[in-house]
């Protein structure tokens, strides 16, 4: 191999003559950690009603400001104000309130069930219920949903039976997923609710493909997908935005920015450098930043995006700014990494409380009805839980048949290895 070295002498230019300072790495830190007081002073919530509403036919290039604003409809007095205030009747709002309350009651109960050892895992959506609820109600029931794992309210919005969901949580004999999936990873073709993946972000670009298919086939159905703030860092997010922009796919790309990804605050995903909505601007996508705890704002933004999608104006990216009020999951203890009083100090309010106040303000709701509905929800959840547990829980009762373990891997007849393994397994 001889004198390869010799050929390779680079005649170096003279060294640069400059005063170099040592480089340093910046690692973003949240404003407060355990033992410190929560600090939300960096969060600027514009007043409700101030963010403009561009015409649905506007070009993305004309609305970059929307990615840096915040669509808010409900003000502190419980009024719906400004150009985004949607024209929806009280029935629909009451339905939204009911679904959010149902979700919260369901979450509380299932969380406890996990703590009682009846299942292995659970994830709540507490504080974020408006995001899936309002979107679920704005979309048609025939539109397709590609959710992440914190949009269980979508199923309630589609009147999907709670019992079916609980059976999944318990991996019992009636679990339509045959006990295969971790709790909360629902799936229902009938509900137009795509099988939730344990692998973050993958649904985001799949949804774009679904929307492309709908467009190719000249269908009228659109779809929507959701992703967490932390998960936006995955390549799938980028592929989704690229494909959606290039093919003008009729899809609504929702980022649920609840400010945390397990123990990592949104700055670790780049959320303190630019709002997540701004990512969309770079692709030429229309991008909205929305108060995710404001049912009416989410509803209005979704409607706007739906109109664009249905009229072949393509995709919209929506960042829903919200807050994860509880731990990441039953495996998590948030007091180990964030200030203890964060939830109390969070300035964005509670979506249920805010919609309730609005309905009361309108004279369409009152405390008595609210209390009654609260009790109704708790009873509904409890009764359904009893039914589900009568079938079985992860630890007790009827399980799916073990032989289903070998099914649905491929269609058609089992091949040699499957036959052999079934036989070894004793079926």
């Amino acid at each position: 191999m001889s004198d390869r070295g010799k050929t390779a002498k680079a005649a170096k230019a003279e060294p640069a003559k400059r005063n170099s300072i040592p480089l340093k790495l910046r690692v973003p830190e949240p404003p407060a950690r355990p033992g410190q007081a929560a600090d939300f002073s960096h969060i600027k919530l514009p007043a409700a009603g101030v963010t403009r509403r561009p015409d649905v036919a506007s070009q993305p290039a004309e609305m970059h400001d929307l990615a840096y604003g915040l669509v808010r409809v409900l003000n502190e007095k419980g009024e719906a104000v400004g150009p985004w205030a949607p024209k929806i009747d009280a029935d629909l709002m009451r339905r939204g309130l009911r679904i959010m309350m149902m979700t919260r009651a369901y979450d509380d109960r299932m969380y406890k069930a996990q703590r009682q050892g009846k299942t292995s895992f659970y994830m709540k959506s507490t504080g974020e219920e408006a995001v899936p609820t309002a979107a679920g109600l704005a979309l048609d029931d025939t539109d397709m949903l590609f959710p992440a794992y914190r949009q269980q309210a979508l199923l309630f919005a589609r009147n999907w039976p709670m019992l079916d969901m609980m059976n999944q949580i318990y991996s019992n004999a009636h679990d339509r997923l045959k006990g295969r999936q971790l709790p909360v990873m629902y799936s229902s073709k009938e509900a137009g609710f795509f099988t939730i993946s344990g692998n973050l972000a993958t649904q985001f670009s799949q949804a774009v493909g679904w929307a492309m298919a709908s467009a190719i086939m000249g269908d009228t159905r659109i779809c929507a997908t959701w992703i967490g703030d932390g998960s936006t860092a995955e390549g799938d997010f980028h592929h989704a935005c690229t494909f959606a922009a290039v093919y003008k796919a009729p899809v609504i790309l929702n980022i649920v920015n609840n400010q945390w990804a397990i123990s990592s605050f949104q700055g670790i995903a780049g959320g303190t450098e630019a709002p997540f909505a701004a990512r969309g601007v770079g692709y030429g996508l229309p991008a909205l930043r929305v108060d995710g705890n404001d049912f009416l704002a989410v509803y209005a933004a979704t409607q706007w995006a739906i109109e664009r999608a249905r009229s072949n104006q393509g995709a919209t990216l929506i960042e829903h700014f919200t807050y994860r009020m509880e731990g990441h999951s039953t495996s998590d203890d948030p007091t180990r990494y964030r200030a203890a009083d964060e939830r109390q100090k969070w300035p964005g309010g509670d979506p249920i409380e805010r919609l309730k106040q609005h309905l009361i303000k309108l004279g369409e709701w009152d405390e008595t009805r609210h209390t009654a509905q609260q009790e109704e929800m708790e009873k509904l959840v409890k009764d359904t839980q009893r039914q589900a547990e009568a079938i079985g829980t992860l630890q007790a009762g009827q399980k799916p048949s073990p032989k289903t373990m070998f099914e649905d891997i491929y269609g058609g007849e089992p091949d040699w290895r499957m036959r052999k393994q079934r036989q070894q397994f004793g079926i």
Partner: protein, 337 residues
């Protein structure tokens, strides 16, 4: 029947599929107007329009994900990854998604996608245009892995793959695109004209997945192979004069174990040949099955002739490629054992 090379046969499969089913959609890098860097999709955009065959961004994971979404919608996406060496960015979408969607949804959602991709060496492509990653996909339950060795099979297997409801990785031995290749790098170029499997029906037919093809009957030993290696093994059999039974597996998932075992039980010897690197290659699985199922009939250890456990080096393409000399030597050695 028309004489076709493998590219033409693949192209013809596309036309047949797209004419029959409006839900078959074709996309990938450079596959649209241009018709693909290997010309497999030539003329499809012109014939079926831009929404049935179109260019995709350079994002293999995005391409596979979009195909999955379309499959979930109810379409049958037939996509191209420009080289198998570039399929790795899509590994998560293939492994965690395409392969799992049927299972995790309790059988409700399907991902009936077919991922075509040229693989293997022999065109001086260097280490990033020559790889054979089939073993990775064979390990992922839920995927099917199909590898044709002739124009006839390529068309029939591709149609079967697209009409199959499961996700299929369809690996095309690029060295066979224009002619059968026996591994003699200095030989003049042969074309498919004259080869019986170069005669391809114009319309619809399938070659079923999971059915191996005994391309040469013999009694001295069984040779298991697929893709380019089928032709190399036939050449080695001819050149050594050993009466080999050469089995073209055609698909490694599903695997036609019955044909394999019948052959090895008859011959008592088994040689496995693939172009991929040795360690944890698919040959290992074949050896593991055969030694277990034919233990008492085996007269010699099962041997594997494969690409070396190195990347595929540009200048040493022919030193890397498991050609007829190496295969023939292994055949002779096995007969002496």
């Amino acid at each position: 029947m028309t004489t076709m090379n493998m590219i033409q046969a693949i192209n013809s499969a596309h036309v047949t599929l797209m004419e029959k089913d409006p839900k078959v959609v074709v996309f990938g890098e450079d596959v649209g107007y241009f018709g693909g860097v290997f010309r497999a999709t030539e003329g499809l955009q012109q014939k079926f329009g831009v929404t049935r065959c179109f260019d995709a961004p350079i994002a293999e994971a995005g391409i596979v994900a979009a195909a999955i979404g379309m499959g979930v919608y109810g379409m049958r996406p037939l996509i191209e990854i420009q080289f198998a060496d570039y399929i790795y960015p899509a590994m998560d979408q293939l492994t965690s998604e395409a392969a799992r969607i049927r299972y995790r949804s309790g059988g409700e959602f399907l991902a009936p996608i077919t991922v075509r991709t040229p693989y293997g060496g022999g065109i001086f492509g260097g280490q990033t245009h020559s790889q054979s990653p089939e073993a990775l996909f064979a390990h992922v339950v839920g995927l099917k892995v199909v590898i044709p060795s002739t124009p006839y099979d390529a068309k029939g297997l591709l149609i079967a793959s697209v009409e199959d409801d499961d996700p299929v990785i369809f690996l095309e031995p690029k060295r066979l695109y224009t002619g059968p290749f026996e591994g003699h790098s200095t030989d003049g170029v042969k074309t498919w004209a004259g080869h019986p499997a170069g005669e391809v029906p114009d319309g619809h037919y399938i070659v079923p997945l999971g059915k191996a093809n005994v391309v040469r009957e013999g009694s001295a030993m069984t040779v298991l192979c697929y893709g380019t290696m089928v032709h190399v093994c036939l050449a080695a059999a001819r050149e050594t004069g050993i009466d080999c039974e050469v089995v073209d597996l055609r698909s490694i998932t599903p695997l036609d174990v019955d044909t394999i075992l019948t052959s090895v039980n008859k011959t008592g010897r088994c040689l496995i040949v693939h172009e991929a690197t040795l360690t944890a290659g698919f040959g290992a699985e074949l050896a593991a099955i055969v030694q277990q199922e034919c233990f008492y009939n085996l007269e010699a250890p099962i041997d594997r002739v494969t690409g070396w456990d190195t990347p595929y080096p540009h200048v040493f393409e022919w030193e890397y490629f498991p050609g007829p000399a190496r295969v023939g030597a292994a055949m002779k050695k096995m007969m002496e054992a």
